[in-house]
């Protein structure tokens, strides 16, 4: 482990698949880079929702209620 990095274990089969993917598709220098990218995408999706303040969200809900949507 160096710097801010930690080790993660993945199956050999998945590793080989990832390696083959990089050889065929390009775009990544290493399996590590691919794994970082995929994880980053997945995790940013989880946090990708717009965060309203409670007051703003209540305003939106009020309008949705008044229009009969909820």
């Amino acid at each position: 482990m160096s710097g801010d990095k930690v080790a993660v274990h993945i199956s050999k089969e998945l590793y080989e698949k990832a390696k083959k993917y990089i050889e065929e598709q390009g775009g990544f220098e290493s399996v590590e880079e691919l794994v970082e990218f995929v994880l980053g995408e997945v995790l940013s999706e989880e946090g990708g929702e717009q965060v309203f303040s409670e007051e703003e969200e209540e305003k939106v809900k009020e309008r949705l209620r008044s229009l009969g949507y909820i």
Binding site: S44, G48, E49, F52, V60, K61, L64
Partner: protein, 383 residues
């Protein structure tokens, strides 16, 4: 989990409260640029995040990237340039770095920070975006009618256009809350400019089978003579949803957005827009956003292969027809019978029947939908 906004963050350029007051005050001293209805609609769509990640009208770098690579300079897929045009004499002394008040019919709608003023080649735009330079193409004709310069930069919306369909209007920030409230994780978007016939219903229900909710999102605003009026389309859909869909699986909301008739490129654009509303899937029609015979019937499907990173899944569902032998709505892929058994639904034919006050057969349109359309004195836009 609804779809992440395009570019990762839902844009909000609507000025509110004190900030809005300050901008309105500032606008009194600013040079003004009067914009037409189409650009005013673009302003609203940018400000409300419909065009996320765009924060304003495109600067040249983005414009050229979109024109030639179908991507923004950030590498996010984007296929239609969103640009503001102006004549040199209208801009007067306005320079890059200045603020500009954008007005429509004399009313200030937005304040823009001018980042760049640049020239453009309309013919090249037409060639790249529309794949034709033919002035008979309605999108090309509009481009040729635009002014000589483009002005790029972020905008802040300070006022909205009058909206006769306000009660049907939802913006992306609202649909995202709504989808979450309904517990929907997978949502399919459906774009339309027509009243629904059985073919539309078939396609929507086929898609709905695999997801949690259907977002029917008719485009409203600018229409050409002979088109269904906006309120007719909404009434027709309300009738369909009320009588033929289970409760709480459909959200019907109108979107005022410019129609460009750019075929395949516009199909991508429509998908990105629905991604911003929170859709995870998008139904792409045969000859989606096409006009005349400028595009092949399935070009709008093929272009999606070029965008594996779009972030919304396109659904390609074949056109449906009624088969007398099958006894229901089917498509080429599932019906083995010949043309003699098939009743194809023609939008033009339906329009003619409704215009004559004739109720279309049940094999084409639900009676409740036909009644809703026929309840209007004139369901069509007049010349």
């Amino acid at each position: 989990m609804v779809s992440k906004p395009h570019g990762g963050r839902l844009v909000d350029r609507v000025a509110r409260g004190r900030r809005r007051e300050l901008l309105l005050d500032e606008a009194k001293e600013l040079p003004r640029l009067e914009v037409g209805f189409d650009r005013a609609v673009d302003l609203e769509d940018i400000a409300h995040g419909v065009y996320s990640p765009l924060e304003g009208f495109m600067v040249q770098e983005d414009y050229l990237h979109v024109l030639y690579d179908m991507r923004l300079s950030t590498d996010h897929p984007w296929t239609i340039p969103i640009v503001l045009d102006a004549d040199p004499e209208e801009l007067g002394d306005v320079r890059e770095g200045d603020d500009l008040a954008l007005t429509h019919r004399g009313r200030v709608l937005a304040v823009m920070r001018v980042e760049e003023i640049y020239g453009w080649d309309k013919r090249e735009y037409a060639r790249m975006v529309y794949k034709t330079t033919d002035p008979k193409h309605p999108g090309v004709a509009k481009i040729y009618g635009m002014k000589e310069l483009l002005v790029g930069g972020p905008i802040d919306l300070v006022d909205e256009l009058p909206n006769p369909l306000e009660r049907y209007t939802l913006w992306p920030a609202e649909t995202r809350v709504l989808f979450r409230e309904r517990g929907w994780r997978r949502i399919v978007g459906f774009q339309t400019r027509n009243v629904p016939h059985l073919g539309h219903e078939y396609v929507q229900k086929a898609a709905l089978t695999f997801v949690d909710g259907l977002f029917i999102n008719p485009l409203v605003g600018w229409k050409k003579p002979g088109d269904y009026r906006d309120e007719v389309i909404l009434a027709a859909y309300e009738a369909l949803v009320k009588h033929y869909y289970p409760r709480n699986v459909v959200v019907l909301a109108a979107l005022r957005m410019n129609m460009r008739y750019a075929g395949p490129r516009e199909a991508i654009h429509h998908a990105i827009v629905r991604k911003n509303f929170g859709c995870t899937h998008f139904i792409v029609g045969r000859d989606h956003a096409g006009v005349g015979d400028y595009y092949g019937p399935y070009e709008a499907w093929e272009i999606f292969q070029e965008f594996p990173d779009l972030g919304i899944t396109p659904l390609f569902i074949r056109e449906a027809f009624y088969c007398r032998k099958c006894g229901g709505m089917v498509n080429e892929k599932v019906c083995p019978h010949g043309d003699e058994h098939r009743v194809r639904i023609s939008g033009t034919k339906l329009r003619e029947m409704l215009r004559r006050g004739e109720k279309p057969p049940k094999t084409m349109m639900r009676p409740e939908v036909a009644e809703a359309v026929m309840s209007f004195d004139n369901p069509f836009v007049e010349a």
